[in-house]
């Protein structure tokens, strides 16, 4: 089922949670709503589920008006951030709940429910825990039960609110890969909310980046990462270095750097901000080709496969560069040493564009 959001707005008191949001979620895709807290992503998800009513705008399911449809008629599966498992029911009863509350005419027989729950338990690899209560499960297990419970009613849309937010790092990694594989198997239209860019990049078919109740950009993970449409998206995805300067007739002057910037060919000495990702900075022992500035290594930190290098630039700025470990090993860097740093790729935004 496809979801269409048109001109959606929602206020809580004076706070605009969503302002004039438009979005299309194609059938069968796994879409991430990515943004910082307060960006409106959870509100959007809850409005799609019918748990919240918008002030203005419409929600269409398969092109049909669904804004005023009640929650139970929407056929959405919702996985809550804190799972919301029924604590007085066993895992089995939790998963079976949606089937047992159906009207008599549609309700499957006991045996059928049992089979279906067994299949779902197998899918989430918790067959042995059917008789346990939620309080006796680990976080990751609860998450999977919540997912199975949502899937039991065969929803046409699966909505997940920060599905991995409350889990520790290792379980989170496992579970998100598992979710990706699960989606490849069952292909139900899914939307999940996250504030973790890595999670969105790894799991989703499409990413919708949200900020202050608006959609900043939507696209495939590589579109969003490689071609950020706004400074916010650039800033939010990955660690970046920020440069202030001016741009004139297709050339930006950022501190000691001169950057070719054809998209601003018509700019007339406008104030601009340049963004460079930390891994787009090359460090060399020799000045080499143009565009390098001299810098001093002020701090070194190994983070797993990366080495984070803090550089103090002549003008007083500080840059952060991430080098692959082998590159760092080759350079043999030490704190206090003089090196040359060169941004390989800079994205320039004229400041007026900023909100």
């Amino acid at each position: 089922m496809s979801i269409t959001i048109e001109n959606l707005s929602k206020n809580f008191g004076n706070f605009a949670a969503l302002s004039d949001v438009n979005l299309e979620v194609p059938s069968g895709e796994l879409v991430a709503l990515l943004g910082p807290s307060g960006s409106g992503k959870t509100s959007l998800l809850r409005i799609i589920a019918g748990l919240e009513h918008p002030d203005r705008g419409t929600v269409l399911f398969n092109g049909q008006e669904a804004t005023r449809r009640q929650v139970k008629q929407r056929k959405v599966g919702f996985v809550f951030q804190h799972y919301a498992l029924f604590r007085h029911m066993t895992v089995f009863d939790n998963i079976a709940f949606g089937l047992t509350v159906k009207a008599k005419a549609e309700r499957p027989g006991k045996a059928e429910i049992r089979d279906k729950v067994a299949r779902l338990l197998k899918l989430i690899q918790l067959e042995q825990l059917a008789g346990r209560y939620p309080g006796q499960l680990s976080g990751g297990q609860r998450q999977r039960v919540a997912l199975a419970r949502a899937l039991a009613v065969e929803p046409e849309v699966l909505l997940l609110d920060e599905p991995f937010g409350a889990l520790d790092a290792k379980v989170r990694l496992e579970l998100r890969r598992w979710l990706r594989r699960l989606h490849d198997e069952i292909h139900v239209t899914s939307v999940f909310v996250t504030h973790d860019q890595e999670e969105a990049l790894e799991v989703a078919d499409r990413i919708v980046v949200m900020n202050k109740g608006r959609i900043e950009q939507e696209g495939t993970p590589s579109e969003v990462y490689d071609h950020p449409a706004t400074p916010f998206v650039f800033d939010f995805l990955g660690s970046v270095n920020l440069f202030r300067g001016r741009v004139h007739a297709g050339t930006a002057q950022m501190g000691g750097l001169r950057v070719h910037s054809p998209e601003h060919a018509t700019a007339d000495d406008a104030p601009a901000i340049g963004y460079v990702r930390a891994h787009d900075i090359t460090i060399e022992r020799v000045p080499g080709e143009g565009g390098a500035v001299s810098a001093e290594v002020s701090h070194l930190l190994s983070v797993g496969p990366l080495v984070r290098v803090e550089l103090r630039i002549a003008g007083g700025d500080t840059w952060e560069a991430n080098l692959p470990r082998e590159e760092a090993d080759r350079l043999q860097l030490a704190v206090g040493e003089k090196v040359f740093a060169r941004p390989r790729k800079m994205r320039v935004f004229v400041e007026d564009y900023q909100i």
């Binding site: 809580f12 949670a17 807290s37 307060g38 959870t42 509100s43 809850r46 019918g50 748990l51 919240e52 009513h53 009640q70 929650v71």
Partner: protein, 276 residues
Amino acid sequence: MASHGGKNNVLPGFTPSLGCTVLYLSIIVLIPLSSLFFKTATLTWDEFVAAVTAPRVVASYRVTFGSSLAAALVNAFFGVLVAWVLVRYRFPGKRLVDALVDLPFALPTAVAGITLASIYSPNGWLGRYLEPHGIKVAFTPLGIVVAMVFIGLPFVVRTVQPVLEELDRELEEAASCLGASRWQTFYRIIFPSMLPAILTGFALAFARAAGEYGSVIFIAGNMPKVSEITPLLIITKLEQYDYAGATAIASLMLVVSFLLLLSINLLQKWSRRFAE
């Protein structure tokens, strides 16, 4: 981030459930209570003042509120002690003792009244030892205080206990690492954290004692101007068909209990001021 507003909430049944609540509250509580003020309003101001300031009535305030204050003070001290012992120490029978603290809530006041009266009467279990020393408890104002201590006992314990349980042990450890003695730690760290709860419990015990009737009248002796409590005076007036007099005193009592309720609410708000 989610709103919990009535109109934004998808859970059903808000209007009917709130409607029923307000309706039932009005019928059972608000309308009957308002009758008290309407009845009082039929008195002229002078009649009202005369009714609530008659010497016997004023004496009953002194007995009631004086005894309530004394009982609440006793309860504040022993309540903190009991709560401390229940939270911090382990001893055999602790769970039983913990459960028994609520006995005054569960034991009907008339039963408490006749039992205390019989224990402290001159030939009772305790009375026979106190009498020779010149201590008369039953049928004196002291008996009223004893009864009020009994019924007010759980209030301080039950308000202080949870606060003490939640109190972060690291605070005390930090204080002692900084060189504070155990006593300094108590009165500089622990006591201030407990203070709002102690005051709340004190006010609750006081309010309960001031309105108490059943457990007090049996042990009080009920001598006018000496050991007659205000609630009893209301009943006496009622039995003499002095409805206006009874109502005037009752509305004064009601105003006092409103004020106490208000101060308890403020105390509780104050006690939450440091809560995260």
